[in-house]
């Protein structure tokens, strides 16, 4: 699986402020939030990355040397050339939001819903931004690092349902 060097060069030539690194033959690009949608569109339409493998997120709260809190990760693949590329957008705390990728890849719908559910990152323009895994009445975003590990929903807080009450 070669590094798609021409893709990286094309991206860096077109947009400023992209940070490129490489790990085990795969390219990782940190994209500014403002140009994310254009970069994704270009990758899909001009460079043949027709498959959105995953949208996920990392919470860098209290992480050494992290300037911004959330790292939103897009994993793209090309089914024709077998190239893969990783995009990352850094977002910060009050109201982390990006433009939704659903107009580009239809499959981003549930992936973005999951990221919204677990991390609370808002996707502007998403057609149906509801919780995916947690129930609707759940208020928090549990995969954030400041979510408490203990002390919610313990068994002794609820009455056990007996047959005569059911």
């Amino acid at each position: 699986m070669p590094v798609p060097q021409r893709v990286v060069d094309a991206l860096c030539g077109r947009w400023a402020g992209l940070a490129v690194s490489e790990f085990r033959g795969q390219a990782r690009v940190v994209v500014p939030r403002e140009v994310l949608f254009d970069v994704l569109t270009s990758l899909r339409n001009e460079h043949g990355f027709d498959m959105l493998v995953d949208v996920t997120c990392v919470d860098y709260l209290r992480y050494r040397g992290a300037a911004q809190r959330f790292g939103l990760v897009y994993l793209l693949a090309s089914t024709s050339t077998n190239d893969r590329i990783t995009l990352r957008v850094m977002l910060d705390d009050p109201d982390p939001a990006v433009v939704s990728a659903v107009p580009i890849w239809e499959g981003a719908n549930w992936l973005e819903r999951e990221v919204w559910d677990m991390f609370g990152i808002r996707f502007e323009g998403h057609p149906d931004l509801r919780r995916l895994l947690m129930p609707e009445e759940f208020a928090a975003h549990p995969l954030r690092k400041d979510y408490p590990l203990q002390g919610r929903g313990e068994r002794h807080n609820f009455p056990v349902l007996a047959r005569r009450e059911a």
Partner: protein, 208 residues
């Protein structure tokens, strides 16, 4: 020497029983469970239904894919909060008389997710009434069959059209009778502490 009252009055191959016993016998020998596997316990449930353990010996091998035809809900697996409302809905869709078996540690009390699981309901008995708890992680098919036998014991203790003790009419469904069988226990018949306050201190989070 008195005349025999009922013996030799009928031809051969004639059985006599009470309506209550006949209905209970029919019910206990055709418990149709609902196909309800939500996690790894379902593998053991499937094994209990397959040839080696063969739940059909007890008339409970007809797993129904709809709650409308099911008598027994074997909750086999971790109950997440999102699944909890669905479980309650399926339980409400089942016709009476219905029974619930909590299979495995997760459905009994949250299991490994008891302390730190933000997503797991801490026991299915917070959602639906549970008749028999089958512990284990997951329980072996033997244990599941044992739980099934205990459900059969429970059905055998049912009373229909029972008059109240003080003679003030018939009892309604679900009312307790004095001669009801005690709640079954895996070690045999043991009286359950029904009105006793359950021990909850061991579950409390001690603040530091």
């Amino acid at each position: 020497m008195t005349e025999p009252w009922i013996e030799a009055r009928f031809e051969e191959n004639f059985l006599l029983t009470t309506v209550e016993q006949a209905i209970n016998w029919a019910r206990e020998s055709s418990i149709w469970p609902m196909t309800f596997g939500i996690a790894c316990c379902a593998i053991e449930m499937m094994a209990a239904g397959a040839g080696r353990y063969d739940m059909d010996r007890f008339g409970a091998g007809a797993f129904r894919a709809t709650p409308r035809q099911a008598d027994l809900m074997i909750v086999a697996g971790t109950v997440t909060y999102k699944m909890a409302s669905r479980i309650r809905r399926l339980y409400d869709m089942m016709p009476e008389p219905k029974f619930v078996m909590a299979m495995g540690a997760c459905t009994i009390g949250g299991g490994p997710y008891f302390k730190w699981g933000y997503h797991v309901c801490k026991g299915v008995d917070l959602i639906v009434p549970v008749d028999v708890y089958v512990p284990g992680c997951p329980p072996r098919p033997d244990s599941l069959l044992e739980g099934l036998l205990r459900i059969q014991d429970k059905i055998r203790g049912h009373r229909i059209a029972k008059q109240r003790g003080d003679g003030s009419g018939f009892m309604c469904r679900g009312q307790k009778v004095e001669d009801e069988l005690p709640l079954p226990h895996h070690s045999g018949y043991v009286l359950a502490p029904a009105d006793q306050e359950p021990m909850r201190d061991h579950q409390k989070v001690t603040p530091k």
